[in-house]
Symmetry: C2
Subunit: 427 residues, 2 copies
């Protein structure tokens, strides 16, 4: 392979970023809670007093975005104003209040030979965060990784390059104010896409985990190319199953909320399963409530017979993540068929059952292996804040390490501390 | 790429193994503790009553091993006799007595809106185990994965093909006796090396984690080629640091045990660090005790001045895993230099400090990010049995999910169960 001097240069820049991150990780891993809080509060202060510079940087990005033809939705995500800067500042202050996971003892026990074993939380090391246009991720992700004792390498979208840079500058100043290394929170200093490739390759062992924040395209690329572990979900194909023992009022409210509260988030329901036992009583009222709010329904043959407005669902609909006001609807023969359908089509994110039958609910909660299973509650509770974790960097559907909301605790690893009094192991 | 019909056939065989494992994983994930215990006890019974067949199969492997020129050590690992079959049987019975991790609630909390959240252990899914010549791994690894509710795909070394097959046959009969699917514990039915490649590629999403059991060559290949997570350690470059506040007698006993109890295990010490403050009093007696047991010492310049028998250590010695009666020895300036040396050269497996200074011990235990840190105890305690986990499938040095001894609990994942009473998420 021939490498151009440009590529060599990106590789060199990124190798240096990695080396500095690893060194900084050692410092932040051993920083006290107070030092980490100081850094976050100082960063919040810097944000407050550098509003003009941040807004000016954002104006540059907005102008470039307009002339390069970014969509209205993209421009809205990119835009900063005083209220949004308040939000970023408040988020930094809130993360500083989270319980410090580092040093928490997860479990401890004594051995008959007198050894005292502790399983204790410690930082993961260096976390790479790759995100798209929202500049607030710079502060949110950086702060959450820092609070968990990690160094972080942030790679923002090129659209938000100047905005992210201005916010990152405030964090660097906050770190310095707290007497910590600026390398604890680094922003990749180039928009060259080759930098993402370097990050995904792990920077020679200097990246411990990658967290992608963005759409399916980004997450898919990261999952395919990363040579280090990835905390992410590719998509959220979430199901609500209305069981034969479901109250109509509760079922209607939950389905409506799960689908329509926000249609663009990963915890939004994409498929409704209804028990054949309550088709006559429940299907039409629930469908009417959805269509009244502008939801398009795509049903199986029987659904279409009952609901005049429903379109015919194709096989693709059962594995579609619409992220829009569309819901696929299928009639199933009780909880067995509901579980089988979910296991076949789900993306292992979040599923809900509505039922007053506790036994049926237990089967649904136990037999499906998605990250989050809810009984009589909306799938839109799939969120770190709603779980009481305070803040999250995303939601993971993998089975390893982090699963469901990824909060500050999930950004740590653990190690064993063993205390003895001279024990040696018998032959 | 051109594929020969042979390769296509291995790919097909392995794809089928994967599909059957995934289906079987669903069954075992929901099996009761009693059913899993029944399967393990029935397997133990089958082993007992099929000794003749197992010994005959092993004789075939031994004969082939002798004519292919296997080393004496390899032949010893391969060999089965009545006592070793007793050991395999007893190990199955012991694993059946372990606390079932599946369904254990790790933590639970209530939210102000009434939602009850539980974090509960669930199986990982399908585990691939790749091992070398010891045929007992067939039963040990198979049983441990099964007890954690997983399906397992075992790939043994070609040297132990017949022995593993005979042991596997007993487990299959045990599963059937308990009314469970034979596909829960599968043995790859071919010695073709292409099968390992297929397994490492993940069998189309049907393998959740790979556990290699064997030497550095095997583990290195698995870590480099696997497209799924790997639980493993590449090597155990374990350190003992004798601090200035260490008692001589305790230090001598711990160093001797850490190095010489068994030199070939991953928890054996490979480097001794001695605080300059106690070189005069501690170095010679410790060195004498080691050389009296036949240990070769490789020291830095100052060590060689004090210890006449010591050879000069080269830079390579500080990162060597001898797995033999050899120890590298270095004088350091207190705990700071000891920590720096360990962070630079350690393989993040296990390190021990000997000291009566509690503050110094805390620094060593907290600042080093290896999986296991011991104070006043031998590194050879790095073992699932010694940790009270009952049995282990190996030791992991990665930072994700499983770390240190990998017991039945580490072979599970978790999910969230959330119970509500009709909660919907506010706009």
């Amino acid at each position: 392979m021939t490498t151009t001097s440009q590529e060599t240069s990106v590789a060199e820049v990124m190798a240096d970023v990695g080396t500095r991150a690893r060194a900084a990780a050692r410092q932040i891993a051993n920083a006290s809670t107070e030092q980490k809080q100081d850094a976050l509060r100082a960063s919040a202060k810097q944000l407050d007093s550098n509003r003009a510079a941040i807004l000016a940087a954002n104006a540059k990005d907005m102008e470039a975005g307009k002339s390069s033809g970014l969509s209205k939705a993209m421009l809205d995500r990119l835009k900063l104003d005083d209220k949004r800067i308040d939000g970023i500042r408040d988020s930094l202050l809130a993360i500083a209040e989270l319980a410090d996971p580092v040093g928490q003892i997860i479990s401890e026990w004594d051995r008959p030979n007198g050894l005292k074993i502790e399983r204790v939380r410690c930082p993961l090391g260096v976390i790479g965060v790759i995100f798209e246009s929202r500049p607030n991720v710079t502060a949110d992700a950086g702060a959450l990784c820092l609070m968990a004792g990690n160094a972080v390498i942030l790679r923002g979208g090129s659209d938000s390059f100047h905005s992210s840079g201005a916010i990152h500058g405030c964090m660097v100043d906050g770190l310095k104010d707290a007497g910590l290394s600026a390398d604890i929170v680094q922003l990749v200093p180039t928009t060259d896409r080759a930098a993402v490739g370097e990050l995904l390759a792990g920077l020679g062992g200097n990246v411990d985990v990658i967290v992608p924040r963005g759409g399916k395209g980004l997450v898919g690329r990261v999952q395919n190319e990363a040579r280090v572990p990835v905390f992410a979900h590719l998509e959220g194909i979430c199901h609500v199953y209305v069981d034969g023992a479901a109250e109509l009022k509760m079922a209607t409210e939950i389905v409506l909320n799960a689908k329509m509260r926000r249609t663009g988030i990963c915890g939004a329901a994409e498929t409704l399963l209804i028990d054949r036992a309550v088709v006559d009583s429940h299907l039409k009222p629930i469908a009417d409530a959805l269509t009244a709010e502008g939801c398009e329904l795509r049903g199986d043959e029987q659904v279409c017979k009952v609901v005049g407005e429903a379109k015919h669902a194709t096989e693709e609909d059962w594995s579609a993540e619409y992220l829009d006001s569309i819901l696929s609807v299928k009639i199933v023969d009780g909880v067995d068929e509901a579980i089988a359908h979910v296991q076949k089509y789900s993306s292992s994110h979040t599923e809900a059952i509505v039922t007053n039958d506790a036994e049926v609910a237990e089967r649904f909660l136990n037999e499906i292996d998605s990250a989050i299973l809810l009984h009589n509650a909306s799938t839109q509770f799939a969120d770190g804040g709603e779980f009481g974790m305070g803040a999250e960097i995303g939601i993971a559907t993998g089975k390893m390490h982090a699963r469901g909301p990824i909060g500050v605790e999930q950004l740590t690893s653990f190690k064993y501390r063993v205390r003895g009094s001279g024990q040696t192991r018998p032959k």
